[in-house]
């Protein structure tokens, strides 16, 4: 008469874990496939329009007079810092940049031996508020300028709406 628990009940109460093997198999196929397609360092590109190249292959040494400035031209000078040509009207000098009436632009001197890109950004924002500026800007650099500095300046201009980037030869731009 002693109490004996029912075997049926105990078998019903047993835990049946889900069969995870198919998921496991799926994971083992997916993971190696994704590993091959994973990019840890994401790359991006910046489009650049080049000036039409000469056919002689010789370096131009002849100083050309500037044409009427239609676009912004940013000069990265090893000695002087940044010089942005164009759109001087209505812009006043500040402690960060000075108006250069002769060159029809502004001069941003170095700050801590580096190009003062903060001042350049401020200036671009200021002229964007006052004028309807084109989306294009050209860059002219001294030969010793580091690629990184050029890219930083280009990236800054692109961020501030000047998305059409070009390169011009420094000899074709008026500079002392």
């Amino acid at each position: 008469m002693a109490f004996r628990p029912s075997t049926k009940l105990s078998s019903l109460g047993e835990e049946h874990p889900p069969n995870l093997m198919p998921i496991m198999n799926l994971f083992l196929v997916l993971i190696p496939m994704l590993i091959t397609m994973t990019v840890l360092v994401k790359l991006s590109v910046m489009n650049l329009s080049l000036p039409s190249g000469g056919s002689s292959g010789e370096q131009s040494t002849e100083q050309e007079k500037p044409k009427e400035l239609e676009n912004l031209i940013l000069i990265l000078s090893q000695d002087k810092g940044l010089i942005l040509l164009g759109y001087k009207e209505g812009i006043k000098s500040s402690n960060r940049y000075t108006i250069d009436k002769e060159r029809n632009g502004i001069h941003i001197p170095f700050k801590d031996d580096k190009f003062n890109l903060y001042a350049l950004e401020d200036y671009i924002k200021e002229i964007k508020e006052k004028y309807e500026i084109q989306q294009s800007i050209s860059f002219a650099c001294d030969e010793e300028i580091k690629y990184e500095d050029l890219i930083k300046a280009m990236d800054l201009c692109r961020r501030n709406g000047l998305s059409k980037l070009g390169l011009v030869e420094i000899a074709t731009v008026f500079i002392e």
């Binding site: 998921i23 997916l30 590109v45 010793e144 990236d155």
Partner: protein, 183 residues
């Protein structure tokens, strides 16, 4: 006698209900893979987040690319790399960087020769495809340019000039994407 009787009694107990209980418990033990599934799920989410269908670009070890906030995607094109030691075209060394930079002229003849051949081959393929009525990629003169961040502009200018002379006018600068702007 007492010992025998004890062992006999033990045997009888095994053949009894206790033995049958042990037999019931002896079944195949399943491996608990739930924790492994957890790890794999986290790994899968991480990999899906970093998944990219963009063309894969290999960068030379001695090239440290500058950063950009640009989100423009990398395209499939020929790849020119300017490392500290070599100028490479599709990872094949063409000329030493130091030799290329010292020249008086903007043109780099070694690079021009190889690029010229590439351009001719690409044009020929594009024309053949067009004649056969197969829709393919037309020659658009696109070049991906990778350069170390400390490369002087003179070197960049020389490579770009050479590209321009061989009808590769559409230059795309390859940079490392970063959401924070670098000043």
């Amino acid at each position: 006698m007492a010992g025998i009787s004890a062992s006999q009694s033990h045997k009888s107990s095994l053949t009894g209900s206790a033995f049958t209980k042990r037999k019931k418990k002896a079944r195949v033990m399943e491996l608990n893979i739930t924790s492994l599934i957890d790890v794999l799920t986290i790994l899968l989410i991480f990999l899906l987040k970093n998944y990219s269908s963009d063309p894969q670009l290999s960068t030379s070890k001695d090239i440290e690319l500058p950063y950009t906030t640009s989100t423009e995607r990398v395209k499939t094109a020929i790849n020119i790399s300017i490392s500290k030691k070599w100028i490479l075209l599709d990872n094949k060394p063409i000329i030493k960087t130091q030799s290329a930079i010292v020249g008086k002229y903007l043109d780099i003849p070694e690079l021009r020769k190889v690029l010229g051949k590439k351009a001719m081959a690409e044009k020929l393929i594009a024309e053949t495809w067009k004649k056969k009525g197969i829709e393919g990629k037309e020659f658009d003169g696109t070049v991906l340019l990778q350069a170390d961040k400390n490369t002087p502009y003179k070197m960049i200018k020389k490579v770009m000039y050479t590209c321009g002379n061989t009808e590769y006018n559409n230059i795309m600068l390859t940079l490392v994407k970063d959401d924070n702007p670098h000043y």
